[in-house]
């Protein structure tokens, strides 16, 4: 067994995928700009990127940690509004504005996530779900009632800072960091809390602290997605971040698979493409049935849950995205 070699090979491979992704995104964006690539497809690709960040980060809490948090869109809102405010209110050159506003969104969402986690991880299971759902509603309602944030009308004319390239870069970085964490002592501690929290505590793991770490990281990345979204759409309203958005994220997560980062990619791509396909096909064939897609997609989810409880990729990874040691060992646990 030559682990060091194998490890080296894997890392190079992941780096290749990352670079290829960013290069392709740049090319596609360029073609789109000069009118050689359909802007509708460009939009879909950008949305897919942002959604991967949301779904993969929530996977830390709902998949690896085995908890059930229902407030992810709330943290996305925090990131979106903070990033939008920084972009709107502080005069900065465009090159500085984007990273700074995104960083602001990440930090704000992370801090709020940490505080919410401190309170909620005194509870588990159903209680955690209800509390995080309540938090999501509080955030949305609070924003709706703050005039400075535009109230229900939201914020408009946010400078356009995001396109497919920036989204691709952020998605790749997010994926890389999440994968690094999952394949480290932290990922193992999250898994063991999911598997048996008492046994975890009795091998010396500070369960609440480690849980809150996952929650904080997930919230911070939701903030990143929010910041990207705000500067891509150029306008945000509180409605974009209510529990329906959380539900969307959950559907993609459960479709793709719990405890699988490649599953998160698969879930987002499959769900987004499916919804768009249904919209187009139904729109062409029978416009009066166009709303059927809202019925077909939940049906597909139900079928998947019935046949594959852990989603398409539950607890497994695509080989080329497997972390070092596991790929070297040929296992896929």
């Amino acid at each position: 067994m030559n682990m060091a070699d194998q490890q080296g090979k894997t890392l190079v491979r992941f780096r290749n995928i990352a670079i290829a992704t960013i290069l392709v995104a740049t090319l596609v964006q360029f073609l789109g700009n000069v009118g050689l690539f359909n802007n509708y497809y460009l939009h879909i690709l950008t949305v897919i990127g942002i959604n991967i960040i949301l779904v993969a980060s929530l996977n830390l809490v709902n998949g690896y940690l085995g908890e059930f948090a229902l407030g992810h869109a709330g943290f996305m809102a925090v990131g979106a509004y903070v990033a939008a405010l920084i972009a709107l209110k502080i005069p900065l050159p465009a090159l500085v504005r984007l990273p700074l506003s995104l960083l602001g969104g990440v930090v704000a969402a992370g801090v709020i996530g940490y505080l919410v986690g401190r309170v909620t991880f005194k509870t588990v299971g159903d209680y955690l779900a209800i509390i995080t759902l309540g938090f999501n509603m509080i955030i949305v309602n609070a924003i709706q009632n703050i005039d400075y944030l535009g109230g229900p009308r939201g914020l408009t004319a946010i400078p356009k800072g995001t396109n497919l390239v920036t989204v691709a870069v952020c998605t790749v970085i997010t994926y890389w960091i999440l994968r690094n964490l999952v394949d480290s002592v932290y990922g193992r501690m999250w898994l063991c809390i999911r598997e048996n929290a008492i046994a975890g505590e009795l091998i010396g793991i500070d369960v609440n602290k480690v849980k809150n770490l996952a929650f904080t990281i997930a919230a911070a990345f939701a903030g990143l997605a929010g910041g990207l979204y705000a500067q891509y759409q150029q306008f945000i309203t509180p409605k974009s971040f209510d529990y329906l958005k959380t539900t969307d994220i959950l559907v993609m997560l459960y479709l793709g698979g719990m405890g699988s980062l490649s599953g998160s990619i698969l879930g987002v791509v499959a769900y987004t493409v499916l919804m768009e396909l249904l919209r187009n096909v139904l729109g062409m064939v029978a416009p009066q049935l166009a709303d059927l897609r809202m019925l077909i997609s939940p049906l597909i989810l139900v079928l998947i849950m019935l046949t594959r409880q852990y989603g398409l990729m539950g607890n497994r990874e695509w080989r080329w995205l497997l972390p070092d040691r596991k790929q070297a060992e040929g296992g896929d646990a």
């Binding site: 682990m3 060091a4 490890q7 960091i177 690094n180 964490l181 480290s184 002592v185 932290y186 193992r188 501690m189 898994l191 063991c192 999911r194 598997e195 048996n196 008492i198 046994a199 975890g200 505590e201 009795l202 091998i203 010396g204 793991i205 500070d206 369960v207 607890n315 040691r325 060992e329 040929g330 296992g331 646990a333």
Partner: protein, 255 residues
């Protein structure tokens, strides 16, 4: 080493552990026996911080542990196994051990976030150490199997290995021989003897199989209805009429 003084805990009107005192010296293997429901496992849960004692103290090398949480107590050097095995079922055998090594990773959070060189070298080191650990327990061949897929005897062994991976000074074993056939029990006795010698441990075990107690323990304490009814040399204690009476009609094997 481990000193338990007047430990008491009640649930509602039931006093599950009543005035338990125990003195585990360095290098001891002591046993706690008693019929089902005598409060033995509750005593373990008190020592490891799963329950808080109503009264009494738990001293490890003179430091009071009562009231601390389980994770702190584990880090102070007390490890345990469970009567009904608690492994990380959907993790591999190897990951079960590596997870228990979390205290000795020796790198920080940001090293893990970016997989910095320190992270990689420490991770490699810990992989190697944990593999040696698995070899020591004859589980190396099984390292990539999910823990829940191991046969029963190996699950027991893995649980003991995982407890030892936290580098404890005191090991608590809750019915390690439960559900084992006589051959497996013999193997277990050998294993406990070996780890006792190799890892420089004091061991406290709950057991119903008298052969295990008689072969391993230098002292045994008998509990019934939460109270200690006898204590001393295993061979003498198990012949004590009071003890036999406590067991009558309850456990047949061994007595």
């Amino acid at each position: 080493m481990l000193k338990i003084e007047n430990l008491t805990r009640s649930f509602g009107g039931l006093t599950a552990v009543d005035d338990l005192s125990l003195h585990l010296e360095t290098g001891d293997i002591q046993g706690i026996i008693g019929p089902n429901g005598a409060g033995k496992t509750t005593a373990f849960n008190l020592i490891t911080g799963i329950y808080r004692p109503d009264q009494g103290r738990i001293l490890l090398d003179g430091q009071d542990l009562s009231g601390l949480t389980s994770d702190v107590i584990s880090r102070r050097g007390i490890a345990r196994t469970f009567q009904n095995i608690r492994l990380f079922g959907k993790m591999t055998v190897w990951d079960n051990i590596i997870t228990a090594f979390h205290q000795r990773m020796g790198h920080g959070f940001w090293d893990a976030v970016f997989h910095l060189p320190l992270f990689k070298s420490r991770e490699r080191e810990v992989c190697k150490e944990s593999l040696a650990f698995l070899e020591r327990f004859g589980l190396a061949e099984r390292r990539n199997e999910l823990a829940e897929n191991l046969p029963y005897g190996e699950q027991r062994r893995l649980e003991i290995a995982r407890a030892l991976a936290t580098n404890p000074r005191v090991l608590l074993l809750d019915e390690p021989a439960a559900g084992m056939n006589p051959t497996e029990v013999e193997g277990l006795i050998g294993l406990i003897r070996d780890i006792h010698r190799e890892f420089d441990l004091s061991i406290l075990l709950i057991e119903h199989h008298m052969p295990v107690v008689l072969k391993l323990c230098n002292r045994v304490q008998v509990m019934d209805f939460g109270r200690t009814i006898a204590a001393g040399d295993p061979h003498e204690v198990t012949g004590d009429p009071v003890v036999i009476k406590a067991y009558l009609g309850d456990e047949e094997d061994g007595l």
